[in-house]
Symmetry: C3
Subunit: 159 residues, 3 copies
């Protein structure tokens, strides 16, 4: 048969709205009984940062840490960012419509046993350490793990 009842989603983007979509789809898959994995890479790693300052050693890593600091409640949307106003606007609109904030949505995904994996290579390049990421992160893996997971999944997406 080849395909297990699995879903594997690469989260490459660090935009608030795309991270939002990733968690919505992942919790939807998990709620439908699928074994679901979110594979965070590059800017997507922002969605699983603790939000505390990054302890990069090199000058460049420090610079990136400052420009790219965050934690999940500091993400900006892909449109109408306006130096942070977009984030506040969206958050308000979501709250008005009784949509869960991003951090609760992440917790829901964790509660539904969605696997959170981080890409080793992009952590190395961006100088993000394991301690900069939330403890619920299941593992730090390479592309081979993703490929194996994705090849056996019914749903694979790149967000």
């Amino acid at each position: 048969m080849g395909s297990d009842n699995k879903a594997t989603i690469v989260v490459f983007s660090g935009d608030m709205d795309k991270i939002f979509a990733a968690f919505i789809i992942a919790t939807g898959c998990a709620a439908a009984g699928m074994d679901t994995t979110l594979f965070f890479t590059f800017w997507g790693l922002n969605a699983i940062k603790t939000g505390k300052p990054i302890k990069a050693k090199g000058f460049l890593g420090k610079m990136m840490g400052i420009m790219n600091r965050g934690g999940i409640d500091r993400l900006n949307p892909s449109r109408f960012s306006f130096g942070g106003i977009g984030r506040i606007l969206f958050s308000k609109m979501m709250r008005d419509k009784k949509v869960m904030p991003l951090e609760e949505m992440r917790q829901t995904a964790i509660d539904l046993d969605v696997h959170l994996l981080a890409c080793k290579m992009s952590m190395d390049v961006l100088e993000i350490g394991r301690e900069d990421l939330i403890p619920e992160l299941e593992d730090v893996v390479g592309v081979a793990t993703f490929v194996k997971d994705a090849a056996n999944s019914k749903i694979q997406l790149f967000i």
Copy 2:
């Protein structure tokens, strides 16, 4: 077996060029005999707006409606937007090469029985009503519908 002869594409982006790619791939799938669904969410909803002013009730919805007004012939490309010049440039290049404009391409997709679905949650958050979207829209659905469709599809993409 698990997979029907289906294709399910999430259209998250509202960029002219990505919407273009979504319709090209969808009509390609439909022409190959696949049962094809476009699932419009967030900015992707711009591709199925009527183009008339949005009737949002709240202040924020109105603001978003103005900043994000449109209809399919008002979309800007993801690059070289230049305050609208990019759109005109692209449209001209496409016309010169006898490529269908976006609105005709959407009509072709509809004629080939591509299903157009809209995401309920993002319509709520962005304060877009059913009456703001084209009548050819088949249904307004939640993520569970997408997950079920995608899990039984040979092709799933997030655009």
Copy 3:
């Protein structure tokens, strides 16, 4: 069964970091023994340009060629572009971490028999000729070829 041991990836984006992700995933798939295809379209075509000036005939094609000139070592990341500084910063960070530069990564993909295909329609619209693209490109094809490939693949992604 329907699904061969294949992976088909659309490379739509021309951002350095996304092209990087596309090549990493493609070489990962190929290394796992999958028959892997990269289908370059729109801005993704920048990843397989020779880097020599584009010979567009029309005024618009020339303009696009200048704004969008490049070759794989001239790509900017999707974030922190800063008029070219982002590219240099990233390249340095990758080099420091002993990550292959993009051009070598492309060569590795080619050495692992990853198929490189280009989208005819976007080449027409952007006035890019076959001679503007690297000789290792296997073929210039239409969307029907992509659909057929993707429908028989275990992994399909849109990057």
